[in-house]
């Protein structure tokens, strides 16, 4: 009897505080529902669809065949081409951006030089795609202005000397146009963060410039530089429009192969296309995640 009564009292008491909290929780969730619905439908859903499709055969049964098919020679070749291009392009961008940053920010040049480069970099890092390809064709194509000037004024034939804009090397040169400014923009705060006390301390202890960079400057910058490298890598890896406008559909980097696959099913197997897409997302995801981890580590010094 008493036991019963206490139980009912507890039951009566319990819901009272929890009812309003449940209601407010529900309302809070409703506020972000449009965002989650939208991203679920038009971002996460489509990607998940491809990811599950990558592990299915044409009949919808689970299989690893598509993953195994990623190992076929032409697909390995296109991943290898993409990765080599992206690594070299990121390396060039990182080194050139670092040199430019060092010269402009720490090199003792007047501050308007830095401002001009910062403004220009903001624009150039966003000037990618088809128009960028056009600009380089007008400059260094077979009839490009620089090619013609070199030939007519200096008697130097670029193309006879082995240069070709429509090649791996040419593509690297074009990519540099958006990679270098991007590197410059993200390395600039890190270069600003190199405290002058560290340099002074090193100088007082008798360190040369070289020793300062080797033992203080570069180790402090290392996570930032590595992070930027990964960001540039992903940036190059995902580039499609620039390559397409410059080379047409014949240059088999991964995005182009996928593009062709969607257009005309060149792989004769849509599920292999899913596997290709999954491969791209994994590579882009890994390099971006590592970038974020390294950025957090780099921020240690800026506190």
């Amino acid at each position: 009897m008493t036991l019963d009564a206490s139980a009912t009292r507890a039951e009566l008491r319990a819901p009272r505080p929890s009812v309003p909290s449940i209601r407010s929780l529900n309302w809070s969730w409703l506020g972000v529902a449009p965002f989650f619905l939208f991203t679920l439908l038009f971002l996460i859903g489509p990607v998940l669809y491809l990811v599950t499709g990558a592990f299915q055969n044409a009949e919808g049964a689970f299989t690893f065949d598509n993953m195994i098919a990623l190992g076929s020679p032409n697909i390995v070749a296109s991943f290898s081409l993409s990765i080599r291009l992206s690594i070299l392009s990121a390396l060039m961008g990182a080194v050139a951006g670092l040199l430019l940053g060092h010269a402009v920010i720490l090199g003792g040049l007047p501050s308007w030089v830095r401002n001009a480069f910062t403004t220009f970099s903001g624009v150039a890092s966003n000037f990618a795609g088809v128009p960028l390809a056009f600009a380089f064709i007008a400059t260094l194509g077979r009839l490009g202005l620089v090619t013609v000037l070199l030939r007519d004024l200096f008697g130097f034939n670029l193309y006879a000397a082995g240069f070709d804009l429509f090649s791996f090397v040419g593509l690297l040169l074009v990519y540099l146009y958006f990679q270098l400014p991007l590197m410059f923009l993200i390395i600039a705060p890190a270069l600003d963060g190199l405290k002058s006390e560290w340099r002074e301390a090193a100088e007082i202890l008798g360190a040369t410039r070289r020793q300062y960079w080797q033992m203080v400057g570069l180790p402090v910058l290392a996570p930032t530089i590595l992070g930027c490298f990964l960001l540039l890598f992903a940036n190059a890896f995902g580039t499609l429009a620039t390559v397409y406008a410059l080379m047409g559909s014949g240059f088999d980097v991964v995005p182009i192969v996928l593009f062709q696959q969607i257009r005309g099913n060149v792989l004769y197997n849509p599920n292999l296309g899913y596997a290709l897409a999954l491969g791209m997302v994994v590579i882009m995801g890994a390099s971006n995640t590592l970038y974020l981890i390294l950025r957090n580590r780099a921020e240690r010094w800026q506190k």
């Binding site: 991203t39 430019l100 088809v130 064709i137 995005p255 969607i262």
Partner: protein, 275 residues
């Protein structure tokens, strides 16, 4: 302390500047040479008079503007709500909004074509209007990282909790608060994100091409295959356009709520102090 002229730095800066400027100058010069033997703006006239150019740029402008509006409508209330009510969810929302950076457009559109194909539960690609909608939604997704960052930064500098309390104590509904209090205060941030979105989606190629829409990006690629001088003219215009978008973005991103659009003239402020 020696204070000699920094030769090494100057040479590096000079090389970088030439790398940046030579293609622009060359492209501009190239674009002027359409008429044999003289420099003229013939290539620009040819582009601007082409009905195809006007049609595709019109289409892409409308699609981009719609994407900007939709993006703002989705992002602003979400960013507001997450900051105000569910800060625990902020990392999740931020992570999702950054996801488009690791999903290349070609993968995104592949998913769209498969998920919203004509035999699917939501056959958006089955009709022209449906495909247009999908293109706009794709642009919203692609611009989400930038839009979210811009709006979130904009909200960080205003005290949304106090603003909301003030609006509520004056009897405003939640909806009214968002429309008449929050939106105007992050307007500059939205516009700053909008210019970046605009510069990304106006010449976008992959989505438009694979969804088979008559947008500006595919037209550009086609023109590049057919003509010699017009592409150079378009590259110059496109660089100028990107420049304008970035400048405007910068101006709006650094503008504080309530700040005037143009700095007060020093002349008038001097007068004021004297008075």
């Amino acid at each position: 302390m020696k204070k000699s002229f920094p030769f090494a730095a100057a040479i590096t800066a000079f090389i970088a500047a030439s790398y940046f400027l030579v293609p622009l100058i060359a492209t501009f010069y190239f674009s002027l040479r359409m008429t044999r033997g003289e420099l003229s703006f013939a290539a620009y006239r040819s582009v601007l008079n082409s009905p195809e150019f006007l049609a595709t740029i019109g289409y892409s402008t409308v699609a981009s503007l719609l994407a900007i509006v939709m993006g703002a409508v989705i992002i602003v209330p979400t960013a507001y709500w997450v900051r105000l009510k569910i800060p625990k969810l902020r990392p999740v929302v931020e992570f999702i909004s950054l996801l488009p950076l690791i999903v290349p457009p070609v993968v995104l559109v592949f998913g769209y074509i498969r998920l919203f194909g004509s035999n699917s539960w939501l056959p958006l690609t089955g009709s022209t209007q449906g495909t247009d909608v999908l293109l706009v939604l794709g642009y919203v997704v692609m611009s989400m990282p930038y839009m979210f960052r811009a709006v979130d930064n904009g909200m960080a500098v205003i005290d949304i909790a106090t603003l909301t309390e003030a609006a509520e104590s004056l009897g405003a509904s939640r909806f009214r608060t968002i429309i008449f209090v929050i939106f105007p205060n992050v307007r500059a941030a939205i516009i700053s994100g909008a210019f970046l979105t605009f510069s990304i989606s106006l010449g976008e190629f992959v989505l438009a091409s694979l969804l088979n829409r008559p947008a500006f990006g595919p037209y550009l690629v086609q023109l590049g295959q057919d003509r010699a001088y017009e592409p150079a003219a378009l590259a110059v215009m496109s660089f100028a356009f990107t420049w304008a978008c970035m400048m405007l973005m910068q101006i709006f991103a650094t503008k504080k709520p309530g700040q005037r659009w143009f700095p007060r003239l020093p002349f008038s402020s001097a007068q004021r102090t004297r008075a």
